[in-house]
Point group: C3
Chain length 204, copies 3
Amino acid sequence: MIYYLGLIGIAAFSITGVIAAGKKDMDIFSIILLGVVTALGGGTLRDIILDTSPVFWIADLCYIWVSIIASVLTFFLVRHVGHVLRLLLFIDAFGLSLFTVLATEKTIDLGFSNPVAVLMGVVTGIAGGMIRDILAGRMPLLLGKEFYATPALLGAILFTLLGYYFPLHDFNRLYAIGVIFILRASAIQWGLYYPRWLTYREKK
Amino acid sequence: MIYYLGLIGIAAFSITGVIAAGKKDMDIFSIILLGVVTALGGGTLRDIILDTSPVFWIADLCYIWVSIIASVLTFFLVRHVGHVLRLLLFIDAFGLSLFTVLATEKTIDLGFSNPVAVLMGVVTGIAGGMIRDILAGRMPLLLGKEFYATPALLGAILFTLLGYYFPLHDFNRLYAIGVIFILRASAIQWGLYYPRWLTYREKK
Amino acid sequence: MIYYLGLIGIAAFSITGVIAAGKKDMDIFSIILLGVVTALGGGTLRDIILDTSPVFWIADLCYIWVSIIASVLTFFLVRHVGHVLRLLLFIDAFGLSLFTVLATEKTIDLGFSNPVAVLMGVVTGIAGGMIRDILAGRMPLLLGKEFYATPALLGAILFTLLGYYFPLHDFNRLYAIGVIFILRASAIQWGLYYPRWLTYREKK
């Protein structure tokens, strides 16, 4: 089931890559590249930093194919859909939740310590989106005012704590994914911010 | 001969790095860095993802020296040359052709499957230029309307097909390089685009 | 002592990451991420390219903690401080000096040749700052008119020469760090540029 969750996450991030970075008149192959890079970028960075070889999409070509198919479908379907920005944010939240938790788990399974696992979870969750935003020349979503990386952090910490105290519990993964998604979705829906004293301000 | 082709590709990409990313008053060492990063970036990414160690320019310092020398020559010669943008596009097309095919071949030689080889060929071919464009704060060439990544894709696929059906044929490499260069050069010369239905458009 | 120098360099780069990339209303966790990525980015790239596994901040979690603490302190203290840009440049110069020399040394200790060590020293020194500037959507410091990468290059060359001629001398490291810092600080203070013929200019 983890495996299929992973593929769904790949599809979700491919969709956001196409919609967020796609620009008018860009050709279909460039669009596919944007989708693929967004979807595979975070996990590739994780595998490179952890030096697990080969990276996940070389070991199993399914990831690439799912990403390509999702990108192509998005390419054609987006013409028939009206306002997608809001939907896009929720799909992105879904990809963020899945990737953060799966990467945290993979890092623990590879024998690294919990702090490293939390960090790699967050990095994997947000890196694909940051690469997408850099390629698109946009301000990274991460750097806005709303909660973005924070839900990933809390979910990754929750997952490592659950794994420590209830190692045999099968639903740890789902709890953590759910917490990240609900926190991020709430942030989108109600514009959750940090309190003012926890936001950056320079002296005038 | 592959080896010298590789060095020529390095020189070509160094030249494009200097001309495309160089800005007035930038010092010579920053210029060299731009040239070197553009020329070595794609292959470095390939070697890191495939986990071949050491990366090619550590194993053989010639690549760095060729890149430095090409960058320095460009630095001085560009003052005496008028419109270079058009020439630049053709040099870039040449580097793209060489790098895509050589990376596809290297990936196959390392024992990876053909789809991975095609993907790594395309990634290696376009990554250096994308890094250059990000450093220069420009819209990546890749993301324009003209054919850019597509010739690399077609050439890489052709090369793997040729390798499959005519494994002993010595000129496979040249055919594939030629196809990429001709396709890309045609795109520059006559502004080849994808048909309208294969370009990105959102619903109004 | 090298170890503590490294930690000081990490703290210095975390501070510059927060101040240079921090934008009004950004939340504290995004700020910490910017600080951490700036501080650890250069060394991570070095370890990935040299394929030393695990990367330094996985092998020793102190680096991450120092970076987080420095980022949090900067986050709160920057509200009470007036003009920081100038101070920031000097802190950045300090991080640049430390990272360049320590990375050059580490590369030599790993058995690579001197030219590779010089290159990796420069890359490690400047990469964190370039990542920071790309994330912040700013023109990289590197690409301005003033000396930036050049002091790192000269210091790294000096360090390898000292190591070659005086292999047993304990202060080689400090000499090289001092030379980089003084050159870069002079460049900031007096606006040192390359002579005009060594700066980039195209033909009109």
